[in-house]
């Protein structure tokens, strides 16, 4: 256990510079981009079959040890060690780069949170070297040249064990199936000029025609060969399994032949596509879906585990996404429910359209109120009525224990008897949740707008008042907390929609309500005039930190119960 991480727990947020130094250290620890060559690649390159959550697991220790034994390569597994019931490990801050700034000693708990999963971020270089290592290893074992080994490994979708087994079983057949034929050790590929030759593709037959053939001897002029490869790589996005252009020939083009034939820009593309295929072929690897991001993430959570865990991973590019379905982070809602919910919202988009309106009427004086910040606490300009944008109820009642803005009250039996009343009630129920879901989405956008406006003012403030860049960063932190919490809140409403009502639902709704209030309180501060903001720094930091705490509490509880199969849903998860 590296001492730096241990010490970190005790660090108190006394001075903001420290807090900013921290994430740097973290990044280099979790994602080993730095001393690449000094790291033995083997373990990272050849993950053992990762163990994952299984149906039968029942204790926290089981969960932790199972989840953390997922083979994520060298430094992650060495820094994460839940061996022999030891739980005093602070890995939680390793992947919370988003929550990195708030960690005061009091809200750091030693155990890893239930909603967190182990993962590792790889750069394209990492992925290339993983492949190289595997090729080299298998190449030694099979005594085949690396080119041929690479083809064999791609053919078996990088399943090394299967390849070796099949190869040992019947070498010739394996080579044949992978498109290698038997004579792979002879004749490096080369171009040949021929005189009495007709290219079977373009019918060119002039003297001195430059031609190419792999050792299957399907010979064509280099122009045609080149054109064929270009089209496969560029238009069809193929790489690992491009066959010889010869009629009926299954021999696969190796990258040596390819390098000989196609221009450099296309070779780059070819290797890119090969890399894509490598990651696509592995269940434990996924590309970060953020636009233009080049990183891939490794995570041991399998498809079959997705009803028990929502595997949010954090790419080095700062994008948080679900390893299960590649959508942006949707904790606490499991992937299947997300899919259902998104589909439902699409299907019902017209019914729900009126909701996205930015204006409503004041419930007291009916004058039009426009929402221009994320905050749901509205004050009517005309009559000063304070109300909640979501439910239009009095704001003063929202803090009280008996008021429930987030809960949908089922109407009691009598009026829901006939079909029409029932369908009306189910629509109302849907709208209740959709309303809140959509509202947090919209509010997150509005909060961000306000933040950007504020940010400009803060920059001005900096130059006029001499406040340092560091000193105005609390705004950024608050904004991030807000975005993140709204994202979570948004999905809690999809989650709640599918939740069957029982005593557990109430705990969930309590947590949801607490987080919601915390978020609204923070959100309100963004609407304060800029000249007051500097003086509100401490309060804002406090509120941000409280929001994060509430979020962690909600996510942790929900994830734990999801893992244990305690939630009852009103739909089948499968």
């Amino acid at each position: 256990m590296p001492t730096t991480t241990r010490k970190r727990k005790a660090e108190v947020l006394t001075n903001i510079t420290d807090v900013f130094a921290e994430p740097q250290r973290k990044v280099s620890k979790v994602h080993p981009q730095v001393p690449k060559d000094s790291i033995p690649r083997e373990e990272a390159a050849l993950p053992a079959t990762p163990q994952t959550l299984t149906e039968g697991m029942d204790s926290d220790d089981d969960f932790n040890s199972v989840a953390s034994s997922v083979d994520l390569g060298e430094d992650m597994s060495s820094s994460v060690d839940f061996g022999a019931g030891e739980s005093d490990v602070d890995v939680d801050d390793d992947y919370q780069d988003d929550g990195a700034f708030d960690t005061t000693a009091k809200d750091l708990t030693p155990q890893r949170k239930h909603f967190e999963v182990d993962f590792k971020v790889y750069s394209p270089q990492d992925i290339q070297s993983q492949q190289d290592t595997q090729v080299a290893e298998v190449s030694n074992l099979l005594e085949q040249p690396t080119e041929a080994t690479a083809i064999l490994l791609r053919y078996t979708r990088w399943n090394k064990e299967r390849l070796i087994e099949q190869y040992m079983d019947d070498q010739e057949r394996m080579l044949e199936k992978a498109g290698l034929g038997q004579e792979i050790n002879q004749n490096p590929p080369r171009l040949e000029v021929r005189n009495n030759f007709t290219c079977d593709i373009c019918c060119e037959d002039g003297p001195g025609l430059e031609t190419f053939a792999m050792n299957c001897e399907h010979r064509f002029c280099t122009d045609c060969y080149r054109h064929y490869l270009t089209q496969k790589i560029k238009d069809e996005g193929e790489a690992a399994r491009i066959k010889c252009p010869g009629d009926g020939c299954g021999k696969i083009i190796d990258s040596k032949s390819l390098d000989l034939l196609v221009p450099d820009d296309l070779t780059d593309r070819y290797h890119q596509v090969l890399m894509r295929t490598y990651v696509d072929d592995k269940e434990s690897l996924k590309w970060c879906p953020a636009p233009n991001c080049v990183y891939a993430v490794e995570c041991g959570v399998k498809r079959k585990d997705l009803n028990r865990v929502v595997p949010t991973v954090h790419c080095d590019c700062k994008h948080a996404f679900c390893f299960g379905c590649s959508l942006p982070d949707h904790q606490p809602t499991p992937c299947v429910l997300v899919k259902r919910w998104v589909k439902k919202c699409e299907d019902d988009s017209e019914t729900a359209n009126w909701i996205s309106a930015n204006t409503k009427e004041c419930p007291k004086c009916q004058s039009t109120i426009e929402k221009n910040g994320g905050c749901n606490h509205m004050t009517c300009r005309k009559c000063k009525n304070e109300f909640c944008w979501m439910c239009m109820g009095l704001w003063s009642e929202h803090g009280t224990s008996w008021y429930n803005c987030n809960r949908f009250e089922e109407r009691s039996g009598t009026d829901a008897r006939d079909a029409q009343a029932k369908s009306r009630q189910s629509l109302e129920r849907y709208l209740h949740y959709y309303n809140r879901y959509a509202n947090h989405e919209q509010s997150a956008r509005l909060d961000k707008d306000i933040f950007h406006k504020t940010e400009k003012k803060m920059t001005l403030l900096q130059s006029s008042s001499g406040m340092s860049w560091i000193e105005v960063q609390f705004m950024e932190q608050a904004s991030q907390a807000l975005q993140q919490c709204r994202q979570t809140l948004k999905w809690t409403y999809a989650f709640a929609y599918y939740l069957a009502r029982n005593n557990m639902t109430e705990i969930f709704e309590e947590n949801q309500k607490d987080l919601e209030m915390a978020v609204e309180n923070l959100s309100e501060m963004f609407e304060k005039p800029t000249d007051q903001l500097a003086g509100l720094k401490v309060e804002m930091l406090d509120k941000s930190s409280y929001c994060r705490q509430r979020r962690v509490i909600l996510l942790d509880d929900t994830a734990k119960n999801l893992r244990d199969g305690n939630w009852q849903f009103n739909v089948e998860l499968s």
Binding site: C199, D200, I201, C202, C203, E204, F220, D223, C224, H227, Y228, Q231, E236, K243, P245, G246, D247, G248, C249
Partner: protein
């Protein structure tokens, strides 16, 4: 690039020595990319006596990309779509199966083979395929009816 020499040669060959049962002409003389084929069904098949109009459209990238083929004459067949396209699903015409040395004549030979012996397991018309497998008599009857109605 590879296009014209190859295409002219193929066309000349097809006209001098057409694939069995086929007559080939360009849809119009200006455009070498659209071929008109009239295919006489094999005499030992249920479609015997039928002459089928087939339109072959060649992509600009031909022969690197496969030709497109449509039955212009209605045909009751599990492997030909029963719509205005009359597309026939042939393995060799799929982008990942097509190889540039493949010739239009080869395609036509295959088309004629499939016409004579349907491949119900590879069908585009499931209903017709079911009937072909389970009620051949009825299938034959309709197929012949259609030949008389549309392909004479």
């Amino acid at each position: 690039m590879a296009g014209n020499k190859r295409l002219l040669k193929e066309l000349a060959e097809c006209q001098q020595n057409p694939p069995p049962g086929c007559k080939i002409a360009l849809e119009n003389d200006e455009d070498i990319l659209i071929w008109n084929v009239t295919m006489a069904a094999p005499s030992d098949s249920v479609y015997a006596g039928g002459n089928f109009k087939i339109l072959i459209k060649l992509p600009k990238e031909y022969p690197f990309k496969p030709p497109q083929l449509n039955f212009k004459t209605k045909v009751y067949h599990p492997n030909v779509t029963n719509d205005e396209n009359g597309s026939m699903c042939l393995g060799m015409l799929r982008a990942d199966e097509w190889k540039p040395p493949n010739k239009i004549a080869d395609v036509l030979k295959l088309v004629r083979t499939v016409l004579a012996s349907p491949q119900p397991d590879d069908a585009v018309e499931q209903g017709i395929a079911e009937q072909y497998k389970n009620n051949r008599k009825e299938f034959d009857k309709i197929a012949k009816d259609w030949v008389n109605k549309y392909a004479k």
